[in-house]
Amino acid sequence: METATQTKPEIAVSLRDVNKWYGEFHVLKNVNLDVERGQRIVICGPSGSGKSTMIRCINRLEEHQAGQIIVDGIELNNDLKNIDQIRREVGMVFQHFNLFPHLTVLENCCLAPMWVRKIPRKEAEATAMEYLERVKIPHQAKKFPGQLSGGQQQRVAIARSLCMKPRIMLFDEPTSALDPEMIKEVLDTMIELAESGMTMLCVTHEMGFAKTVADSVIFMDAGQIIEMNTPDEFFNHPQHERSKLFLSQILGH
């Protein structure tokens, strides 16, 4: 039985011929992608290539206009029930943290479990403290986000997402807004999460992170997936001209 599930892994996220336009601008062009459960995918590419848009389509922060997106066995369409169900199972970490500034760290972490999952406050707080400990800031629980450093805020944001016990995590450039000294603490948290077996899709330019944890690297340009390969192959032997140019520019300096 176990070998059967191993030979035929479950698909967590599946994109089929996904297309999206911003007005006249064709931002996603026939994107096809299957993410297996437990897989860690790093998405990179120049700005404006559609990588953020793609992962934001997975939890319907953006709407795709053609094609099919299936998350955790549920198809994303205009059915609000499906959208709500998918958002419960998909956590997201943003570039600018997007913590709720009027709530304490602990309240930030308890809000969605209490209101969406209807978990009693005591239980939600216990879970929140557990995750705050995992991201190594339990002693800041009573503070407001504005009193924390950028790196701490991002770790709280990761804990806040995990409190919903999601099955899939999306990261939208989680370290791009951080001071260099703080990038490592956030990456360490993400690496730990990856090692625990979480399904992750990360838009990031942290190539060290990609090499350490990613199962595959996706390179996007102009709304298309240009290349998809293991990190080793992608960084050492990029196939497409555009990938070679991109790598030479980010690694060359």
Partner: protein, 366 residues
């Protein structure tokens, strides 16, 4: 280049002392030069020359207690006018024997507000429920009567400060949630909801309050079926509430627009529904930003209540004007208007101070 490496870690020192006392402050700011001194002296003299006669008239030479204008003999302000009419100014023509009911409502209101505003008082949730649901019922039963053995007092007899407060409080409490709903509706992605809200807001903002009150009291009865009558006060309350909600909607909308898109996205991404996200994430932040604007609206509503005079409701200002227009008290308009100004100012200034206190207590950064 000369290399540099620090050899010590500098300790943190307290900031330099800048407090100097009032004398030093005056010397530095008011008398720093000959020109400055002259300007200071001239301004102080100008203020005194206006203030001294006023204080003389209003306090020192004033008459305070008496029964008729014959008691005003000192040549200063005749506060006897206010003293004699105090009951009229406070509750209008409310029957003398039933005035205790208005005082009781006032007392309950003061205690409830204190319970809500003073941080140390526990059970805030229950006090809120009491204030929003129980208090209006109690206040209505007490003021209007006709049940629990209380004689009925028609709203025609309500007047003075009582009427002003009834209109202002009902207007504020009812317009606030309606204004929030209109603001959310105007930003809705549903075209029909949005259109209804835009039309409502623009129509009500576009007409003067006087017109609204006039329509409600003169035009509305023409359209109602014969024999059907809606209480005049109720019509005024509905008119003022709808009018005020349109203004509040725009104030709240400005707060909603100031919330970064990321907050909406984070709420959505966590699985919160639209109403959950609004209630727990967006509105608390948006309303905090627009506290000054909201209080501004409330203060202007409080003062606008005096317009109900034109439909024959006698609020604080109207009872005062009525009193000094009576032949027995002709000529005491100044005292009357000053008293009205003082009462309005006390309420408006209290609202302003309380809102500043709320703003400070909601601060969540350093």
């Amino acid at each position: 280049m000369q290399a540099f490496i620090t050899r010590e870690t500098l300790p943190s020192l307290p900031p330099p002392n800048t407090i100097k006392g009032p004398m030093a402050w005056m010397r530095q700011n008011l008398f720093s030069s000959v020109g400055n001194t002259i300007v200071t002296v001239v301004i102080v003299l100008a203020i005194l020359s206006a203030l001294i006669p006023f204080i003389n008239w209003a306090f020192i030479k004033a008459d305070w207690i008496g029964t008729s204008r014959e008691d005003c003999t000192s040549g200063g302000a005749c506060w006897v006018f206010v003293y004699v009419h105090l009951k009229l100014f406070m509750v209008g023509l409310y029957p003398e024997s039933e005035v205790w009911r208005t005082l009781l409502v006032g007392a309950i209101l003061v205690v409830t507000l204190a319970g809500l505003m003073i941080k140390a008082v526990p059970f805030k949730k229950y006090i809120q429920i009491f204030a929003i649901i129980v208090f209006p019922v109690i206040a209505f039963i007490l003021l209007s009567g006709d049940s629990f053995g209380l004689p009925h007092v028609e709203t025609n007899f309500w007047g003075g400060l009582l009427l002003t407060l009834v209109i202002a409080i009902v207007g504020i409490v009812a317009a606030f949630p309606l204004g929030i709903l209109l603001a959310l509706g105007r930003r809705s992605s549903m075209p029909i909801v949005k259109a209804i809200c835009v039309v409502f807001i623009e129509v009500w903002r576009g007409v003067p309050l006087i017109t609204v009150l006039f329509m409600s009291s003169v035009m509305l009865p023409l359209f109602l079926p014969e024999g059907m009558e809606i209480n005049k006060l109720l019509r005024a309350l509905v008119g003022i509430t709808l009018f005020q909600s349109a203004y509040l909607a725009e104030v709240v909308r400005s707060g909603l627009q100031a919330i970064p898109k990321g907050q909406y996205e984070a709420a959505n991404a966590l699985g919160l529904t639209y109403w959950q996200g609004m209630y727990k994430v967006i509105l608390p932040q948006a309303l905090k930003i627009v506290i000054p604007g909201i209080v501004n609206s409330f203060i202007s509503l409080f003062k606008d209540t005096s317009l109900v005079l034109i439909i024959g409701l006698f609020d604080l200002l109207a009872t005062i004007q009525g009193a000094f227009a009576s032949p027995k008290w002709l000529g005491y308009a100044i005292e009357g208007y000053l008293f009205a100004a003082l009462v309005y100012w006390i309420f408006c200034f209290s609202m302003s101070r309380y809102s500043q206190h709320v703003e400070r207590s909601l601060k969540t950064t350093h």
